[in-house]
Structure formats: C-alpha cells, structure tokens
C-alpha cells in the first residue's frame, strides 16, 4: 500500500507540474469557452426555434467536444508508461517491491485526477447561466458524470497504449486510433440494419451514451459498463507491463 501511494504521489506531482499538462489545460479552457460562447449566441438568436438547455449541448452536443475527447486523453496518458521504458526507470521501479497492477492503477489515477481538474471550471458556465436564468441541475450533474465516465474510459485506453510503446508519440497515435475507432461505431450504427450489431454498439458507444447523459438519463447499464471496461483495460495494461519485461 505504501508503495502504491508512493507511485501515486510521484505521478500526481509529475502531471501537475509538467508543462504539457498546462498547455493542455489552457487549450481545453479556451476550447470550452469558445463552445460555450457559440452555443449561447446561437441559442439566444430569436430566429432559432425550440428550447434546448445550453448545458445539454455543451456536454457532447458539439463536434469540438468530441475533438477534445479524441485529443486530450492520449496527451495525458502517452507519457505514463512509455517514459519509464524509454528512460530505463522501469527497471528500478519493477525490481522494487511493487506490483505491475499497483503501478498501472497509480499512474491511471493520476491522469484521471488531472482530467477531472480540466473539466472542473466548466461548472462555472452552469453557474453563470444560473445567474441569468433557471438551470436544471440534474442534467448538468449527469452530463458531468458522462464527461468523467467517458474520459475515464478513454484514459484507460491511453494507458494500455502507453504500456505498449516505448515512444510517447507512438503511444499517443495508438490511443487516438483506438478512440477514433470507438467513436466511429456511431456511423456503423446508422448504416447497418442488423439489429444485434446495433444493440451491441448501443452498449459500448460513448457518443450515444453522452447523448443520454446530457439529457439527464442515467442508465445503470452505463454505470456498470464503464467501470468494468476500465478495469479490464487496466488489467490488460498491467499484464503488458509485466510481460513487457520478458523481452
């Protein structure tokens, strides 16, 4: 346990003091500000018909949101394991009394913490709206939950990618490719007529889940799917890390 906490503390420190993390943070804040501004100016145009809550669109309703979802998790995770391989620090680490599982989970949690930190300021937008009108806090909360669940899954994919590659860029590319593939499932869902395939995609597609969650629908199947998938990915990553030494 002490060893796990030691790795977690080191990783948290490493991510919160790294320049890359703050470049990402700045970029995300700018992008989110831009999304919010666009949505508000669009929705407050009298010519736009229909009443839709801005925060519902804010969480997953724009292309820019999904671009962030593709780019940000790989940037946060690419360093995690790859850098240890590259610099050789994996050797003293894995010969210390600590397991591959502990190392992977600690690294993953550090990235997740920073990811949550990235999204925290977007609650300010909801607060801003609340000053000028009524905000339905339920969908805001479930939208935020969606952002965290989807992000947590994408970060887990990033950790697996990072434990596969010695080179950070390669790790990032693997993660981006995997995430794109996952997102593109939505197009298959629209193209196919096969009911089973559609149902399967419905279970695993973050794009479809975000849509639900932003509307305020919290389906317990999602609450089971995400932690399970994350657990599986981290287990895979720990196995890769343990066997990576064999080569």
């Amino acid at each position: 346990m002490s060893a796990f906490l030691a790795v977690l503390e080191r990783e948290l420190r490493a991510v919160f003091v790294s320049p890359l993390a703050y470049v990402v943070l700045t970029f995300v804040l700018l992008a989110n500000g831009f999304i919010f501004w666009t949505l508000i100016s669009h929705l407050s145009d009298p010519a736009v018909a229909g009443a839709i809550a801005p925060m519902q669109l804010f969480f997953g309703g724009t292309i820019l949101f999904w671009l962030l979802a593709i780019a940000v998790p790989p940037l946060l995770t690419m360093r995690l394991v790859s850098e240890e391989y590259r610099s050789g620090t994996i050797e003293p680490l894995m010969t210390a009394p600590v397991t591959a599982g502990q190392v992977v989970v600690a690294k993953y949690l550090s990235a997740l913490a920073f990811y949550a930190f990235l999204w925290l300021p977007s609650l300010l937008y909801a607060a801003l709206l609340a000053r000028h009108g009524r905000v339905d806090w339920g969908p805001v909360a479930s939208g935020m939950l969606g952002v965290l669940l989807v992000g947590a899954l994408l970060l887990a994919i990033g950790v697996v990618a990072s434990s596969l590659a010695r080179n950070q860029i390669v790790a990032a590319v693997i993660a981006v490719a995997a995430i794109l593939l996952l997102f593109m499932l939505v197009f298959f869902e629209q193209l196919t007529t096969d009911e089973t395939l559609r149902a399967v995609i419905g279970y695993v597609s973050p794009v479809l889940h975000m849509e639900e969650l932003a509307k305020g629908i919290v389906d317990t199947r999602r609450l089971v799917f995400y932690p399970t998938a994350i657990g599986l990915l981290l287990f895979l990553s720990a196995r890769i890390l343990a066997t990576r030494q064999w080569r």
Binding site: S2, V7, A14, L93, A96, P97
Partner: protein
C-alpha cells in the same frame, strides 16, 4: 545469499544466457566479467527479478524470486546499467520516493535517506535537480537509492562505466565500503576493477559461464604463463640467447610477448615452468657470459591474459563445448604471434 540455478534466457531464436549457475555467499563481493554483449546484463536482470528466466530459478536469501517476489525483492538493491533516474526530481525527493517504494515511512525513512546521502557523499546536492547533476553524482544517487532499505544483497551493473578517472576511484572506494557489510555482485568489462574489488570472479562470454574462482585461482588455471623479462644494455648474440634458453626451468624463448613494448633487440622473454623461478640462474648466466643486465623481472599472468585466452579459445572452437570442458581450457596452445 544469491543462488542462481541453470539460468537460461532466450530472446526469440537468440540464446542470450545458456545454463548459468552460480551462488554468492553472504558478505562476498563477486565480479561478473565479460566482453560487451556477453550476457552480463541479462544475467543480472534475471537475478534481480526484472527479467524472468526462460528456465532455471533464482533464490535470494532463501526466497524464490518469482514465487515470493516481494520478500525476495526487499533483500535486494539494484543499480541498473546507465543509472536510470527521473531527471525532473530533486535528489532528496527521489530518495524519499524510493524509500516509500520500499515500504519505509516517517522517521525511519528520514534516517535511511540521511544515512544514504552521507555514505554516498551527496549531502551538498540533496536539493539539486537530478537532471543537472554530473555523471559521477548521478551514479552516487543511483547507489544511494539502491542501499536505502539496507538490502542484504547489492547488484551493480557496470557501476563505473562512463566516469572520469577520479570519479571511478571515488565510486570504487564507495563500492568497497558498501561491500564490507553486504553481499555484492557487480558486472564489468574492466579487468583491473575486478582484481581490485572482488573476492571472486565469474567469467562469462556469449551467454556461457566460462570460468569461476578467485583471481589467483584463475591464474593457476591458466598456468605456465609466468615469464621472465631480461633486459641488456646491448643486443645479445645468438649464442647468448641459446644459453639462456637452455637454463634449467626455462621452457622457451618468447619473441612476441603480449602487452610488452620494450625494445625486442635488447630484451629477452623467457617462459618458465609454473613451479620454477629462474631469476637467480639468469643473473649468474649473464655474469658468466659478460653481459650487463639492466632489467630482470617476473611477469605474472594477468587476469587480462586469462580473460582474453578464455574468451578467444571459446570463439575458436567451431562446435560449442560441453559444459565441463570449457570451464578450464588450460592446455590450449599459445596463440600464434
């Protein structure tokens, strides 16, 4: 303390380590010697548990490294080749991290860190960022992190590589100091280092253990290499040379001794029988023949000779030897000049 039993390691089709067995007793300093690419690092990675062997087993202080990894790893301090460290951490911070990885905390961790800083002469750089340190200091930070948890066994992979001569002396002193209280195994391709530091030597080449023993054991094994160097003020005649060659105890005259750059015309190299000492006879013979001696000394076979001999003999054999026969190829012919 460290017990390795018939370790094998294959990378695909390539066998990096083939049937290596050895054990290191408590308190012993053992050197693992071999040319680059001989399998030293692979062997050390296996006895530290970083790399699982393809076959064979390792126990550390009686704990199997792969069945009871945590117990075994607590007994072990490891300094990998090239000393991987996190460049963005401060020295003290890094040691604190390593101490916690080893399960130490609070005051005991503090004490261990201070002790390690003191032993490795790092007190004045404790607050410095590792990335800004010189190679010598980095090496010492690596050593400090390896001894934090007071391991019973210390494994050092090429601990002096890439250092300047003064740093090498400092690190060797430190290693000698650390070796006083614990079992230590270090790998190197620098021969004098082994002679200076180690109680026992393992010679490894192309993944096989070629020889094992103390430096003097190995010398005896390589026997017959003791030579007498005789220098004259003027080149001796052919008759003089023949007279020296016929002295009792002299086996032959060597023309091309290895590693001796003295002028060949005025210098004779006599190979003597392992049990003989012909120096006195050489002196009398020179006096009888009216020659003036300017030099007379015995050259013992150096570890270098043994090493070169073992590793080249092995290479010369087309078919790999069976395990018994390549341990002591003492009867091999002289390499042709």
């Amino acid at each position: 303390m460290i017990d390795a039993r018939s370790l094998h390691r294959r990378y695909g089709d390539f066998t990096a380590v083939h049937d290596v067995s050895f054990s290191v007793a408590e308190g012993e300093i053992v050197g693992l010697l071999g040319p680059n690419g001989a399998g030293k690092t692979t062997t050390l990675r296996m006895i530290t548990g970083f790399l699982p062997p393809s076959a064979g087993r390792v126990t550390l202080d009686g704990h199997d490294l792969f069945a009871a990894p945590r117990l075994a790893r607590r007994q072990l301090g490891y300094l990998p080749e090239n000393v991987p460290l996190y460049p963005d951490m401060r020295v003290g911070e890094y040691l604190h991290y390593r101490a916690r990885l080893q399960g130490m905390r609070g005051a005991s961790a503090r004490r261990a860190i201070d002790d390690a800083l003191g032993r490795c002469l790092l007190d004045d750089v404790a607050r410095q960022i590792i990335g800004t340190l010189s190679k010598g200091y980095r090496q010492r930070v690596g050593l400090a992190s390896a001894i934090l948890h007071a391991p019973k066994a210390l494994v050092l992979d090429e601990p002096t590589v890439g250092l300047d001569p003064r740093q090498i002396v400092a690190i060797r002193d430190l290693i000698r100091d650390l070796g006083r209280s614990r079992t230590l195994i270090l790998s190197t391709h620098i021969l004098p280092e082994v002679e200076q530091l180690c109680d026992r030597v393992l010679i490894i080449d192309r993944g096989r253990l070629l020889a094992e023993g103390t430096a003097s054991d190995l010398r005896t094994q390589a026997g017959g290499r003791s030579a007498i160097v005789v220098g004259f003020d003027a080149p001796p005649s052919a008759d003089d040379r023949a007279a020296f060659a016929q002295l009792d105890g002299v086996e032959a005259l060597d023309d091309a001794p290895d590693g001796d750059t003295a002028d060949d015309a005025t210098t004779l190299h006599l190979r003597q029988r392992p049990d003989a000492d012909v120096r006195a006879d050489v002196f009398r013979c020179a006096v009888e023949r009216g020659l003036t001696l300017v030099e007379l000394r015995e050259v013992k076979a150096s570890l270098e000779d043994i090493f070169v001999r073992l590793t080249t003999d092995d290479r010369a054999d087309a078919a790999p030897n069976a395990d018994g026969s390549d341990a002591a190829p003492t009867d091999a012919e002289e390499p042709a000049p």
